[in-house]
């Protein structure tokens, strides 16, 4: 957007954002609606000429990350086969597609990706693919009021929306609407599937709220490798801190490490967390720093941030991934949660 419009932005805190260290501004409405308008234009621009319903069932959908793939598959049910190009443990910010991934995108009847720059430069190409087939950026279709934007970074919303199951329920509805546009004949089915799935998301959300409320109030701090858990913090009332910035390639500053070590020692934080798709080096530096001050700090476990667990396991589904994160955090921070999680299917949590 060439012209950056300057306007007054209201400084609001999210209602249930109990005490996160960062003040998030609500989206500047005009800016967001410009983006929204643009994306709608883009969507309609390519959705209109190619509104023809799929030629055969199940039609094929290619997606980028597992979290998107999971909701697309759940909404589409048996009408489509969704395939994700990024597997378990992959960092989507830096992912480079292979030739087979591109072949899959060319073959697919529709493409879904997460959006908000999660896929980095690949998104540019996906938008171009949109000229010849329906392409949808899931998080960019959600109502802007569910998105978080870091302070003084307007227009660069945090892409890790799936960390808040209630927001991901909205994403599910966005997927249903997109699929209905593509295949109007089954709109009712997609709507029903998405409502069913949204109910599960909301159940998980209330489970999360319940178990994380059992964590002593002063311990409700989630410290992890990089800034991927802001939505998680908002959803469940945790203070969230990352050792490195949002970019997984940026280095942790010494000042930030020292600040966190001070914070951990002062607030008697018991555990910090590593992530499945990011190196644990920085978190280990934190532990070293805290040990040097004579306190004990343990690694609470490995959270799934930008990628889900191995395919075929419960943690390899979106609900399982979030269940894992919620249960692990609650137990490591001294709260009470069933070892097997919300659905009784978890295997990793100690």
């Amino acid at each position: 957007m060439g012209v950056v419009l300057r306007r007054k932005r209201s400084l609001l805190k999210f209602p249930n954002q109990a005490h996160t260290n960062k003040t998030y501004r609500m989206k500047s409405v005009t800016r967001r609606s410009t983006i929204k308008l643009l994306s709608t234009l883009v969507v309609t621009a390519f959705a209109l000429p190619i509104q023809a319903a799929p030629k055969k069932y199940p039609y094929s959908i290619t997606t980028t990350v597992g979290m998107v793939n999971d909701i697309v598959q759940n909404v589409a049910g048996e009408k489509a086969k969704a395939t994700a190009v990024m597997g378990a443990g992959v960092d989507p910010h830096l992912y480079k597609p292979t030739r087979d991934d591109v072949a899959a995108m060319i073959r697919a009847d529709a493409v879904f990706y997460s959006g908000l720059m999660l896929e980095g430069k690949m998104a540019d190409t996906l938008i171009k693919v949109g000229r010849s087939k329906p392409v949808f950026a899931v998080t960019e279709l959600i109502d802007e009021k569910f998105l978080l934007e870091p302070e003084d970074m307007e227009g660069h919303a945090d892409p890790h929306v799936w960390m808040d199951p209630s927001a991901w329920a909205k994403a599910t509805q966005a997927v249903a609407q997109s699929l209905s546009k593509f295949d109007p004949g089954n709109a009712a089915l997609y709507q029903k599937n998405s409502s069913d799935y949204a109910v599960k998301c909301l159940e998980l959300h209330s489970y999360g709220k319940k178990v994380l409320a059992t964590v002593p109030e002063e311990s409700r701090v989630l410290i992890s490798s990089h800034d991927a858990f802001n939505y998680f913090g908002r959803a469940f009332g945790l203070k969230v801190m990352g050792v490195q910035g949002l970019s997984t390639e940026s280095e942790a500053g010494l000042k930030q490490i020292n600040f966190l070590v001070d914070f951990i020692v002062e607030n008697k934080v018991q555990a910090v967390f590593v992530e499945s798709s990011v190196s644990s080096k920085n978190v280990k530096a934190l532990i070293g720093g805290v040990k040097a001050r004579g306190k004990d700090l343990k690694i609470g476990g490995e959270l799934f941030s930008d990628a889900m667990g191995a395919a075929g396991t419960y943690e390899g589904t979106y609900l399982g991934m979030l269940d894992h994160n919620i249960t692990l955090v609650a137990r490591a921070l001294g709260g009470e949660a069933p070892a097997k999680g919300h659905d009784g299917k978890l295997s990793h949590v100690k």
């Binding site: 430069k121 970019s247 940026s250």
Partner: protein
């Protein structure tokens, strides 16, 4: 192994190879001069040095769109070339050392800028600048009624620019590469030629980063030229061979990206990496079998010489 090629499609694989070959040709045209001037790592230096350009472009435009990122990177790419020459001249150090000073300095500046100013957004070259060669066929524009990938047009233009400059200034570039002092007495400014070459390298590198990622251009600026260096002592032949080796490694690389993982039952792997690897393999072959500097021929010559000295019957 060959079954893996069943899904071969010219619209997909043909364009990927075309993009790789153009990037390889553009880089391999300049590579011989870099190798002769002991500046082979220029491509790598630029790939690190662009970080502050990206950070400043973000701070100015508040956007992570491709165009500002590209412009920022291109400007800093040119500055890298200029600073390198300044430091070499004023600091009286060789090219390698001055390149090292410049790119580490710029990279560090870039890191500081990113952490200080843009820590809350994902801003790194891997995310906002580097393209992927595999995505080439997806982004097309219509030229004369044909759907041609944008990347192929960009890289084609860069290759053409490099070819024109190398043809026009062949003599000047040659003499300044081998004997700058003589060039100056003949009235050819070796400094001007240096800046011309560095500008071309910077344009090629940044255009390729945006189009096909960093690994390919860094490799193609060095490896084909080094392989050609093993095969000939004439500059014109060296440039020609360098381009041929570059194009061959592009084709070979994409084929092996599809076929080699298939042997172990995996899907295709990263094409750019395989292209760089193929260039490396071709280099090894050239180093072994070169007609004058090759390892095998040297070994035979040494044996013969030893036999001669010892007076053994031939």
């Amino acid at each position: 192994m060959l079954e893996s090629l069943e899904s071969w499609s010219w619209a997909l694989d043909g364009w990927i190879i075309a993009a790789g070959a153009l990037c390889a040709a553009a880089s391999a045209l300049l590579g011989p001069y870099l190798v002769l001037r002991k500046m082979s790592m220029m491509g790598d230096a630029i790939s690190h040095a662009v970080l502050p350009g990206i950070a400043i472009a973000f701070l100015v435009t508040e956007s992570r769109a491709s165009l500002p990122m590209f412009i920022g990177a291109a400007i800093v790419g040119l500055l890298t070339a200029i600073f390198t020459e300044w430091i070499r001249r004023f600091g009286k150090v060789d090219e390698g050392a001055s390149m090292g000073v410049v790119f580490t300095g710029l990279f560090a500046l870039g890191l500081v800028l990113v952490v200080q100013a843009a820590d809350k957004v994902d801003l790194d070259p891997g995310c906002v600048l580097y393209g992927a060669i595999e995505l080439t066929p997806l982004d097309t524009t219509t030229v004369l009624g044909y759907d041609v990938p944008r990347v192929v047009i960009t890289l084609g233009a860069v290759a053409l620019l490099n070819l024109t400059c190398v043809l026009l200034f062949y003599k000047e570039l040659k003499i300044t590469s081998f004997d700058p002092a003589l060039a100056t007495t003949l009235g050819i400014s070796s400094r001007l030629m240096h800046y011309l070459l560095m500008t071309l390298v910077a344009i090629t590198a940044v255009a390729s980063f945006e189009a096909v990622g960093n690994i390919l251009v860094v490799a193609m600026l060095i490896v084909p030229a080094a392989a050609a260096y093993m095969l000939t002592d004439r500059l014109s032949v060296m440039i020609f061979l360098s381009v041929i080796i570059g194009i061959a490694s592009a084709a070979l690389g994409h084929l092996s990206a599809i076929m080699v993982p298939a042997i172990f039952g995996f899907g295709s792997t990263i094409t750019a990496g395989m292209m760089a690897l193929s260039a490396g393999v071709l280099f090894v072959v050239a180093a072994l079998c070169g007609p004058r500097h090759g390892i095998i021929i040297k070994l035979i010559q040494r044996r013969r010489f030893a036999a001669k000295c010892l007076g053994a019957p031939h």
